[in-house]
């Protein structure tokens, strides 16, 4: 069985009155099962469009992607938790299942198990505003995992959080992803976050974006916070920073 996510020849343009804007120019990528791939690029380079295409929110004009020779089930985590304030935490978590009409006994039991695993079972009947920012992110993750995604897409996740909780949550999420062995694509403008979490970092060029370079990250820790202390961390960081070609000042 082919256990990789294959992204083949994806192209995307936007059309405005002033003309065509090429956002993505021929992206090809193979991602192994359980791998975490981070995509970095300067802002507006089209990395979020790429994620939007994979999430099925945006259409692509050319190219395709498939997983085990079929369309993958996608779990999409956005920049903020996007929890619905009028639903209880539990109802939020099963929202995806309800929409896909997969709220079977079995799947609901799975969701309840996730709540237990992440120490949130006491909060199931609370409402989002009663939870801390970090807890809300975990609920958002449970909501995403509930539909048993083949691929997890993280679009600048946690960027709404302060630095401290951001580190803590990304560490949490990292453990969960590793535990559940979910193939993950992370889009981030934060190089440090990308290097500390990912197995590979894909650097995109400016618009229209192409793959500029791919880095295999060999930091041996199972903990993204400790990864930041490794000797090689700074090397990766500096190299990627150069690749991004950011104009400062």
């Amino acid at each position: 069985m082919n256990n990789t996510l294959t992204i083949a020849h994806i192209k995307k343009s936007y059309y405005t009155k002033k003309g065509e804007i090429k956002a993505i120019d021929d992206i090809n990528l193979e991602i192994k099962k359980g791998e975490i791939v981070a995509i970095v690029g300067s802002s507006g380079c089209g990395k979020s469009s790429l994620l939007g295409i994979l999430a099925g929110i945006e259409k692509c004009h050319e190219g395709s992607f498939y997983f085990q020779n079929r369309k993958p089930v996608i779990g999409y985590m956005l920049q903020n938790d996007a929890l619905f304030p009028w639903l209880s935490v539990y109802e939020n978590a099963i929202l995806g299942l309800k929409i896909q009409k997969k709220d079977t006994m079995e799947n609901i039991a799975y969701v309840k198990k996730l709540f237990k695993t992440y120490n949130l079972d006491e909060f199931m009947n609370k409402y989002p505003h009663e939870l801390s920012g970090g807890m809300k992110q975990r609920v958002a993750l449970i909501r995403t995992l509930a539909i048993k995604p083949d691929i997890l897409l993280l679009d600048e996740p946690f960027s709404a959080l302060d630095y401290q909780s951001r580190l803590a949550i990304s560490c949490d999420v990292f453990k969960i992803i590793k535990q559940e062995k979910i193939t993950t694509i992370l889009v981030s403008h934060d190089i440090a976050e990308a290097v500390s979490l990912a197995n590979r970092v894909v650097v995109l060029s400016k618009r229209p974006c192409k793959i500029k370079k791919i880095y295999e990250i060999n930091l041996n820790n199972d903990n993204p916070i400790l990864n930041r202390n490794e000797k090689d961390f700074n090397l990766y960081y500096q190299q990627i920073w150069k690749d991004l070609d950011v104009n400062v000042g």
């Binding site: 999430a55 099925g56 996007a82």
Partner: protein
């Protein structure tokens, strides 16, 4: 509880009591002055009426039974126009939200209709609908519908983009996005549109009754003017003030309960 906390609570309570006392005082003062000045003929009671005359008029209207008939007629018109305004406003808002092209097409017409003083259409409505209760309800509907439609529609448009993205990533259909996100998410704007709607409905109904009616509080006021009986006019206004206050409080109660 600390002494400072007690002092703080006491201060708040005192402030509330003072506000209430002053409010009641203002009403008593105005009514008293009004009564006194008309009694002393400084104000002509024939033109200005007086609190005691208003009360007497209301009592005699109540005895003859016509008072309740007027109130019920107006109330009936208000309830129908109010529910129609909210219901239709909600349905049309959904249609416009779902069909963006249609929204763009009708946009200038809605703006025109919104800025037009609807009373100007009164005579036409009477000719088309007949001089009856239908005309009054159409009049009120014209005034309240556009306002509640626009409020609800703008509430829909204000829905958080990331939440829509989230549902789309789950593969949600348009109908599901409406059901799970747009409608429950707009509860706040829908309920606050009720407040606006009730005052608009009152304007519309009274205006309609001014133009055509044989019953109702608006009729009472117009009738009083025609026979130059200011007691009846003032009685009508007092009843209207009480009625609108009660209706507003009911809507406020609903708002509190559902928000």
């Amino acid at each position: 509880m600390s002494d400072n906390q007690k002092l703080f609570l006491k201060k708040i309570r005192l402030e509330q009591i003072i506000i209430k006392i002053v409010q009641v005082g203002i009403v008593i003062l105005i009514l008293g002055l009004w009564e006194y000045l008309t009694l002393k003929k400084v104000l002509n009671p024939f033109i200005f009426s007086s609190p005691s005359r208003i009360i007497k008029t209301i009592i005699s209207l109540a005895y003859s039974g016509s008072l309740f008939e007027h109130i019920f007629t107006t109330l009936y018109e208000i309830i129908i126009a109010f529910s129609l305004g909210i219901g239709l406003g909600f349905i049309i808002a959904i249609i416009l939200y779902e069909c963006l092209i249609l929204a763009k097409i009708v946009d200038p017409f809605l703006t025109m209709l919104n800025s037009l003083p609807k009373v100007a259409l009164g005579p036409i409505i009477i000719i088309w609908a007949g001089a009856n209760i239908k005309a009054i309800i159409i009049m009120a509907l014209l005034i309240n519908l556009i306002v509640s439609l626009l409020t609800i529609y703008n509430g829909f448009l204000g829905t958080d983009e990331t939440k829509i993205k989230l549902l789309k990533s789950f593969g949600a259909s348009k109908k599901q996005i409406l059901k799970y996100l747009i409608i429950p998410g707009s509860k706040r704007t829908i309920i606050s549109s009720l407040k606006l709607n009730i005052s608009m409905t009152l304007i519309g109904v009274i205006m309609g009754e001014f133009l055509v009616s044989k019953k109702g509080i608006g009729y009472l006021i117009i009738y009083g003017t025609q026979i130059f009986n200011l007691n009846i006019v003032m009685a009508g206004i007092v009843i209207l003030i009480i009625l609108s206050f009660i209706l507003y409080e009911i809507v406020k109660f609903i708002e509190k309960k559902f928000l």
